[in-house]
Symmetry: C2
Subunit: 164 residues, 2 copies
């Protein structure tokens, strides 16, 4: 059995996979006659060639414990970004390179004020929430072409997240 | 004195100005092995020619009562979308056409689960929150060119929002 233990989600640690969308460390300034503070350009979202950015909401339910990682997916044509709409911590599982395996997965624990942008083509697990349910604003690509690939792991090795 | 009384924010009522970003009435379906419901494509966000979509957070404070409308602004090069990150109701003030005046402003009261996309070039008031403070995820354009126009109303007519 392979176990993944969540590490804290930081901009530096997540940099190979995309962007952490968070106020911490962001350029910010007052606008609107001083009534609004803008934390500017926390991320971009690139929908890729011939794509447009669309806004969706994902209502995610917690998976049974222990949370098992049996596959990853990726979007070869455009970025995908998630930002939580309330709720608590949630999990981000990614793998580097072109050939993801259970052994090279990494798990990050995101806070309730942290979103992520998965860069185009980065292998990641579908939404993993720790609350019973949690909602996210999701930004991704609408456009022509097939923007989903899945990699199913071999069933002989179980991969679970521990320490949550 | 001109008074604006908020009307409920509905997709139909707001259609001349952009999109209401909300689950109600949206196409939705289960994904991720049935653990996630996707409310799909609630809006698109068009950053305009040579633009890219960026994600920011606005931390807005309530203005003094009565809330006065002294100007509008617009973004001639790209869309701008707001979605609340918790909190309560908030206000959306817009005006049709090219020449906004206090008399043709309209005020909508948005719920805590409603965002809006201001279509490119639509005159609107900067962020108006009803809580002491409220945070929003904001999607707009990054790119070359001047993407802000302001129209300051004549000071001899006071325009205030009533009934809030």
């Amino acid at each position: 059995m392979i176990t993944l233990r969540p590490e804290p989600l930081t901009a530096e640690g997540f940099a190979p996979f995309g962007t952490v969308i968070q106020r911490d460390g962001a350029e910010n300034y007052l606008i609107n006659d001083g009534t609004t503070r803008r934390f500017n350009a926390l991320s971009h979202v690139d929908p890729g060639p011939e794509g447009e950015v669309i806004v969706s909401i994902f209502h995610g339910a917690r998976r049974p414990s222990p949370i098992a990682i049996r596959m990853l997916e990726r979007h070869p044509l455009g970025d995908q970004a998630f930002f939580p709409l309330g709720g608590g911590d949630w999990l981000v599982v990614v793998a580097p390179g072109e050939q993801p395996t259970p052994a090279n997965c990494r798990c990050f624990r995101a806070g309730p004020d942290q979103g992520v942008r998965y860069a185009r083509g980065v292998w990641h697990h579908p939404l993993l929430v720790l609350d019973a349910t949690q909602d996210f604003l999701v930004l991704d690509r609408h456009g022509p072409g097939t923007n989903l690939e899945e990699r199913i792991f071999e069933p002989d090795t179980e991969t679970v997240i521990e320490g949550i």
